[in-house]
């Protein structure tokens, strides 16, 4: 009864096709966005810097990967490398054209990632499934090698790392060591909201339908006039764009600098976990997945000593780390068994329950 659509009539198709057709959803999303922005003032530095900023960035990368894996059904293990392309492109652009605002370059760097993504997406026209997944590993290892081996990419720095130079937006430092977590959080949040809105528009429109058609039954899609060539490459491009922007944000709005091995295969796996645990083909699921996978280790670092200490067992940092691995592994299996459709499906079930509450049906 809390959450009911009765009495909300749509008088035209446009209203019926809105992304949030229900009033409650629209209010809810508005409240969430408001809360998110207010966190900039209420959240502690640790909360912003070590929890919320990375969560948003990972969520964006997960959205990007979800468009490829969840919506188009193309399995990719090269996400980390595509994020790296965005980060290195952004670094080069920022240092070559220091006069242009960094926000512009963060958005532009995504296009470089998209271009590279399309190149490594070409084999997807002939191969599917696990074969494609292994092919994307080529992107992962080759690009990582390139980040390391082409000194031009990191401006011949002695350290071999890319460092975030100081940059401002409206005279407020947002990139570099002088930027406060609050400023960076607001920038990250705004970019993520904007790109999530665009992603939602894309997946609800013609392109999204074409992707899902390819995913569900590629042959039938082709026989209906959807060109798999275009649709798959478009998916690679858009997905890599998102990953690239996420990568650029990761380095310049979160870490403040990075070595090539930040974009390693572990990163790719982590984002894939987020997508799967969150729910394939669900944007909201990408947020859930990012939250769970990213925050779980942080939570366990706080949790486990507290659990074991009263029992008189001293838990070392490495034991926590080992347990973290074990629990993460066990959780992945657990979630896959109880809900292979991910957290997004649970969210739907909750909404359904709320709709009929307090009655069971």
């Amino acid at each position: 009864m809390i959450y009911r659509e009765a009495g909300q009539f749509k008088s035209n198709y446009a209203a019926d096709m809105a992304v949030f057709p229900l009033r409650q959803d629209r209010i809810g999303i508005f409240v969430i966005i408001l809360l998110a922005y207010s966190m900039a003032y209420f959240g502690s530095t640790f909360m912003l810097q070590a929890v919320l900023i990375p969560f948003l960035i990972f969520a964006l990368a997960a959205i990007g990967l979800n468009m490829l894996v969840g919506y188009t059904g193309l399995l990719s293990l090269g996400t980390g490398a595509f994020m790296g392309v965005g980060a290195y492109a952004c670094y080069k652009l920022m240092t070559i054209f220091p006069g242009v605002n960094v926000i512009v370059w963060i958005f532009v760097s995504g296009f470089f990632a998209a271009g590279i993504g399309v190149i490594f997406g070409l084999p997807s026209l002939r191969i599917k499934g696990f074969y494609l997944a292994v092919a994307t590993l080529a992107a992962q290892f080759f690009l990582q090698w390139t980040f390391n081996r082409v000194p031009w990419l990191y401006n011949y720095n002695v350290s071999g790392a890319i460092e975030a130079p100081r940059r401002t937006l409206f005279d407020v430092h947002i990139v570099g060591a002088a930027a406060t977590p609050q400023a960076r959080y607001i920038v990250v949040l705004t970019i993520v909201i904007l790109l999530t809105w665009i992603a939602s528009n894309i997946v609800h429109g013609r392109i999204g339908r074409q992707w899902m058609a390819i995913r569900d039954m590629d042959i039938a899609a082709e026989l209906m006039g959807i060109r798999p060539f275009k649709a798959k490459l478009m998916a690679f491009a858009v997905s890599s764009y998102y990953c690239g922007v996420a990568g650029a944000m990761m380095v310049f709005l979160w870490y403040g600098g990075a070595e090539y091995n930040v974009f390693n295969i572990e990163q790719s796996f982590l984002i894939l976990f987020m997508v799967i645990i969150g729910g394939l083909g669900s944007l909201i699921g990408s947020f859930f997945g990012a939250a769970l996978i990213f925050m779980l280790p942080i939570a366990m670092g706080a949790f486990l000593p507290a659990i074991f200490a009263p029992l008189g067992i001293r838990v070392g940092a490495e034991t926590i780390e080992h347990l973290r691995f074990m629990i993460l592994g066990a959780m992945i299996i657990f979630f896959l068994i109880v809900e292979p459709h991910g957290l997004a499906r649970l969210w739907q079930i909750v909404k359904q329950k709320l709709r009929v509450w307090p009655f069971p049906y």
Binding site: F130, Q144, L272, H322
Partner: protein
């Protein structure tokens, strides 16, 4: 022009100039190839029988070796450690079947694939928790494996051959032959092949899928143990080894996911290919191309022959 000369002429001249180095490169390629093939073999066994792309195979290699060395470090005699390690691999197979495969039966492939990621992470944490994270030395001599090396004087130079490498090659051959006999001659082997062809059909003639799964995971565990011993003898046993397991993936692409001969031939191609490329052409781009060379070969190969070397051409039906 100069570049073309560097690419197309100089490496070959150098091969002729230093035949001992060429032979050494080929031998190294052969040994790596055998070991890649062994890891790939574990993948193939499981993929054939259960359709699961077992990402955890690489970790099983490390886990098996770590178990063996770990028991020995606890004071268990070497041979008994080996037996215990085999026992642990059997327990692992049973557990995986019970806890992971059975509840996930009939789920899409990608879900099972992700589940093997879960197994991977669990085994890393579990292995380090029990046996500690520091690298350990393989108990080569205690297992009565040969140590030392032979230097063959050839063409004014020498070729170093590690005895353990010879043993690795021999054991790999024996193991592949055993698996071949097991598949073709035994009852369970026949059942396994039936399952590989069609799960439903196999079920309908009364083959127990659960039993088959335990068997293949156990077999893959044994393969992993042997691979782990061989790799461990070449370097140390630690979870840093897992990265080598990724090399088995391009091998699988070349050989096809379901072909045992494919895994072997693919392994050898990758092994020879990357050593030769790294040694003769790597210096042109500053070296280190071994880290991606195998994947790029596999990628190019895929574009021309998506079904792998030994796979059959797929006829799509609607």
């Amino acid at each position: 022009m100069n570049l073309l000369h560097q690419i197309f002429v100089e490496p070959f001249l150098f091969m002729g100039e230093a035949p001992d180095l060429l032979l050494q490169v080929l031998w190294e390629g052969f040994v790596s190839g055998i070991l890649y093939a062994l890891i790939a073999l574990g993948f193939v066994l499981i993929f054939k029988a259960s359709g699961v792309f077992n990402f955890a195979q690489g970790i099983m290699v490390v886990f098996a070796a770590l178990t063996l060395v770990g028991f020995y470090a606890m004071g268990v005699p070497a041979i008994l450690s080996l037996a215990l390690a085999i026992g642990v691999m059997f327990l692992l197979a049973v557990t995986v079947e019970r806890v992971v495969l059975r509840p996930l039966v009939n789920q899409p492939d990608i879900i099972l694939f992700m589940a093997t990621f879960g197994i991977t992470y669990f085994l890393i944490g579990f292995g380090e928790l029990i046996f500690g994270g520091e690298p350990k030395q393989m108990i080569t001599s205690q297992l009565m494996l040969p140590e030392g090396r032979t230097n063959l004087e050839i063409a004014g130079g020498f070729v170093t051959i590690q005895h353990i490498d010879i043993a690795a090659a021999a054991i790999a051959v024996v193991m592949i032959a055993t698996l071949g006999i097991f598949f073709s001659k035994t009852r369970i082997g026949r059942a396994l092949r039936a399952v590989a062809d069609s799960h439903k059909a196999a079920l309908s003639v009364g083959i127990s899928l659960n039993q088959i799964w335990v068997t293949v995971w156990f077999a893959a565990g044994i393969v992993a143990l042997v691979t782990g011993i061989m790799w461990g003898a070449r370097s140390d046993v630690s979870f840093a080894l897992q990265i080598i397991a990724f090399k088995a993936l391009p091998v699988l692409i070349l050989g096809g996911f379901t072909s045992i001969p494919g895994a072997i031939v693919g392994g050898l191609i990758i092994g020879f290919g990357e050593k030769i490329a790294e040694f003769y052409w790597g210096p042109l781009v500053g070296g280190g191309i071994e880290s991606w060379f195998a994947y790029i070969i596999a990628l190019i190969f895929l574009v021309f022959r998506p079904q792998g070397l030994f796979g059959e051409k797929i006829i799509e039906r609607i």
